[in-house]
């Protein structure tokens, strides 16, 4: 029995009339409101961090005993490195040493963004390596996952505190201390991605076409992990900025001579009741930065990888 000649009726087929989505993922991302807002806010902050010396600041470590505890907007004197005394408007007031809070906050942007980004990159790098290993070398998987469970069982702040206490605070130490507790989550994410993507028919098809394992990892698995990892990275960055601030606030973060928002707040907390500006200005900057990164992350997740919302 031969099939009826269907060319005549192809135009009537259900697929002839349907419009298939032509928009790519990138276009969806660009159109998302949260992504736009977060990206713009971050761009502004990056600009601020970059342009710090030209935004009416002075060297953040400069101080003047005569300009202590000035209120925001007050004008006073400050001693430069060469020994000169110049007049300067303390836009955000000064702290108990006579340092300009405004300058310290602006320069603090650099540190916070740097710490957040580096911590995210470190955590991602290790997490990807461990996750891929775990997903592909099944015999190693059990052991690795138990270790990850163990690390996750210790509250992140405690790990960070302990590591900084053991090694003494410095920029690399703090970055590693923030990254380490985040590594298990990234590892689990990559591992679960590897395991699910491997089950996808298109990976099976690649196997049937004779594609070697390394090529499958590179061409099929890795590109499909980029989106969730970018989202995760954004959240780690936000978390990293927060943790750095908390560590500094508790006194176990970066050394006090480096201006970070946490350090500024730590020093200012003693006089909080009379001079709240010490805590509020850096606090606002901190909140806005982390908020921007979080909103960006939310937007990226909603457009790139909606399934991720279920993964706690």
């Amino acid at each position: 029995m031969s099939l009826p000649d269907l060319k005549h009726y192809e135009a009537l087929s259900v697929e002839a009339g349907s419009v298939v989505r032509q928009e790519s993922a990138w276009q969806r991302v660009r159109g998302n409101g949260a992504v736009r807002f977060g990206a713009v806010a971050l761009a502004v902050l990056l600009a601020v961090a970059f342009a710090a010396p030209w935004l009416g600041t002075v060297d953040p470590s400069l101080f003047d005993a005569g300009s202590r505890d000035l209120l925001p907007g007050a004008s006073g004197e400050i001693t430069t490195l060469e020994g000169e005394t110049i007049r300067h408007t303390f836009l955000m007031g000064s702290d108990s040493y006579g340092r300009d809070i405004y300058s310290r906050v602006i320069y603090g942007t650099r540190v916070s963004l740097a710490v957040g980004t580096c911590a995210a990159l470190v955590a991602l790098a290790f997490g990807i390596a461990l996750g891929l290993t775990s997903g592909y070398l099944r015999w190693l998987d059990g052991v690795l996952m138990r270790i990850m469970d163990g690390v996750m069982a210790i509250p992140a702040i405690l790990i960070a505190i302990a590591l900084v206490a053991a090694w003494r605070g410095s920029l690399p130490t703090v970055i590693i201390a923030i990254a380490v507790p985040e590594i298990p989550r990234v590892t689990r994410l990559v591992r679960s991605l590897v395991l699910t993507i491997r089950e996808e028919p298109y990976v099976e098809a690649a196997l049937a076409l004779g594609t070697p394992t390394w090529k499958i990892m590179l061409s099929h698995i890795l590109p499909n992990t980029v989106a969730p990892l970018v989202v995760q990275g954004t959240f780690i960055c936000a978390s990293g900025i927060l943790v750095e601030a908390i560590l500094s606030f508790l006194g176990v973060g970066l050394p006090p001579d480096i201006p970070t928002w946490g350090n500024i707040m730590a020093e200012g907390r003693v006089q909080f009741i009379e001079f709240p500006h010490n805590v509020f200005f850096p606090g606002i900057f901190l909140a806005v930065t982390v908020l921007a990164v979080n909103i960006l992350g939310d937007g990226l997740r909603d457009t790139l990888d909606p399934k991720m919302a279920k993964r706690v």
Partner: protein, 538 residues
């Protein structure tokens, strides 16, 4: 109860949100369902049939809205009823059952509780009477041991049993209208037959009007009194079953019915001298469940499977879910390793070979999978997908590209579309791309693992015709795996029927279909809906 129709849909229009295919999901649709009558609403995906059902019940999602017309349930317009009135009407005057019995029941409530809910919120019966009513309806839907059913949870029951519970919930208060939205699509053929019979019986006994939504013409032939055909939201044909199925008037209906494969096997002279491309002997696959607690449970997925396929011929493996047919296919392509037995491709034994040695074998056997939406990497162009195979075997890039272009033309697609991404193509088009990808390797054996099961009837017909053309042109051997008896009848020369891991019947298609010997095969064919019906030929 008056003598008018149970349901009268008059010029019903339901709008779609802006930016979609078209403005309306349903456009001025009118039909009636009388007392004791089964009306089948047929259409392919996107035809609007489910939307109409939801509109009648008042269950439309927030993005869709009724923009015109009426749905009169015993004279009352449900599209204009208040939410409270709709709640009162549901389950008492109109009920709905859905497609996926797996997910349609609340997993954390017992079946008895879910049935009881209907009675608690619509009647004021005391507990003893409710329980009596529940047990009675469970017996009526022919569930064994109603007392145990009441206490059990959905995950403890089979698909067929869950669907019976759904039917029980729908009919316990004896509504005038039952809307069934593809209730048997997710069930096995034999279970489907039982459920269809049940619905027909209950409906006849209680005089319920049934609006049965389906895309399967076999089902329509089996139970419909009248048929309504929908296309892209418009009603194109309406009439008695025999009229519509044997003498369709609209072009679209004629095309659809012409696309439905017949259950009579085609007879083609099989060349017994053609070389044997594939041969399996005592092929076995056992999954070992190695858990720390509990006994070691071995699941035998395939047992002693013996098959052979000659050049230029198609062998079909037919079976229900869990029969092991996909396992066999995967073993042959060596995506999984067989536990025992031999597989020979052109005489060369491949069941024991390691990954590296398999490379030369891979180009001779290719596979097309079931789900066109997951068979292509969303992040690579279709050109890359088709070229991947040849590139793996050292073919120069330029030549691989040329080959890809030729293949796209062969599968009747625009060769210029190689630069596009999978999401820019429809399901049927993607499946054709997958076929092109398989052919790029110039295989000798092509395996189609439920390759047309996820496609609409009209698209399915096109893809089947394409496969036939390819088979003839390249003189390929083909292994076609399906659960759909009609599809198997249409294109297979030989048929193997599998059940629970073993081959229960094996022979030329004509023999197996017309003179089945094993009782499972006979039961399978007996269950095929509309098997005795002579559809119109195109």
């Amino acid at each position: 109860m008056t003598g008018g129709p149970v349901l009268e849909v008059r010029n019903l229009s339901i709008a779609l949100p802006p930016g979609g295919d078209r403005k309306e999901a349903a456009a001025q649709v009118s039909f009636r369902v009388g007392r004791g009558e089964i009306v089948c609403l047929v259409g392919e995906s996107g035809s609007g049939k489910s939307v109409i059902a939801q509109g009648i019940m008042g269950l439309l999602p927030r993005t869709l809205g009724v923009t015109g017309g009426a749905a009169l349930l015993e004279g009352e317009d449900t599209t204009r009823a208040s939410p409270e009135r709709l709640r009162q009407l549901r389950a008492t005057r109109m009920s709905m059952i859905f497609q996926e019995p797996m997910t349609a029941l609340n997993p954390v409530m017992s079946c008895g509780q879910q049935l009881d809910e209907v009675l608690v919120y619509h009647t004021s019966l005391p507990e003893a009477e409710r329980r009596a009513k529940i047990l009675a309806i469970l017996r009526e839907v022919m569930l064994p041991d109603p007392e145990r059913m009441v206490a059990s949870y959905p995950h403890q029951l089979s698909g067929g049993q869950r669907q019976r519970i759904m039917i029980a919930m729908a009919l316990v208060l004896e509504p005038a209208l039952l809307i069934a939205d593809e209730p048997t699509t997710a069930l096995d053929v034999t279970t489907q037959a039982q459920i269809l019979k049940l619905i027909a019986e209950l409906q006849a006994r209680h005089g319920t009007g049934v609006l049965f939504i389906t895309h399967d013409f076999g089902v329509v032939a089996e139970i419909a009194h009248r048929v309504a055909v929908l296309r892209l939201g418009q009603l194109v044909e309406l009439g008695a079953r025999d009229e519509v199925l044997k003498r369709p008037r609209h072009d679209y209906t004629r095309m659809l019915i012409g696309s439905v494969p017949r259950l009579e096997p085609h007879v083609r002279a099989a060349d017994a001298t053609a070389p044997v491309v594939l041969e399996t002997q005592q092929l076995c696959k056992t999954y070992v469940d190695r858990s720390w607690f509990g006994k070691r449970r071995d699941v035998v997925a395939a047992r002693d499977v013996n098959l052979s396929v000659r050049r230029g011929q198609t062998l079909g493996i037919v079976g229900e879910s869990g029969s092991g047919k996909s396992t066999v296919a995967r073993c042959i392509v060596r995506l999984i390793d067989p536990s025992a037995g031999q597989i020979r491709v052109h005489g060369e034994e491949i069941a024991r070979k390691g990954r590296r040695e398999l490379k030369s074998f891979r180009r001779r056997v290719q596979i097309v999978f079931q789900d066109p939406y997951r068979s292509l990497n969303p992040r690579r162009t279709v050109g890359e997908a088709i070229m991947e195979g040849p590139l793996n075997y050292g073919v120069a890039r330029l030549e691989a590209h040329e080959r890809a272009r030729r293949l796209m033309a062969l599968v009747r697609m625009d060769p210029g579309a190689l630069e596009r991404y999978p999401h820019q193509f429809s399901g049927g088009q993607r499946q054709r791309i997958c076929i092109a990808r398989a052919l790029a390797m110039e295989p000798e054996l092509l395996i189609a693992d439920e390759a047309v099961s996820a496609l609409d009837v009209s698209v399915q017909a096109q893809v089947l015709q394409l496969l036939e053309e390819i088979r003839t042109r390249f003189n390929l051997a083909m292994l076609f795996i399906t659960h759909d008896l009609r599809v198997a009848a249409q294109i297979c020369d030989h048929v193997a029927v599998m059940s629970q891991g073993g081959v229960v019947e094996y022979g030329p298609a004509e023999e197996v279909f017309l003179r089945p010997r094993h009782e499972y095969t006979r039961a399978l064919f007996a269950a095929a809906p509309g098997r005795d019906f002579a559809f119109a030929s195109a």
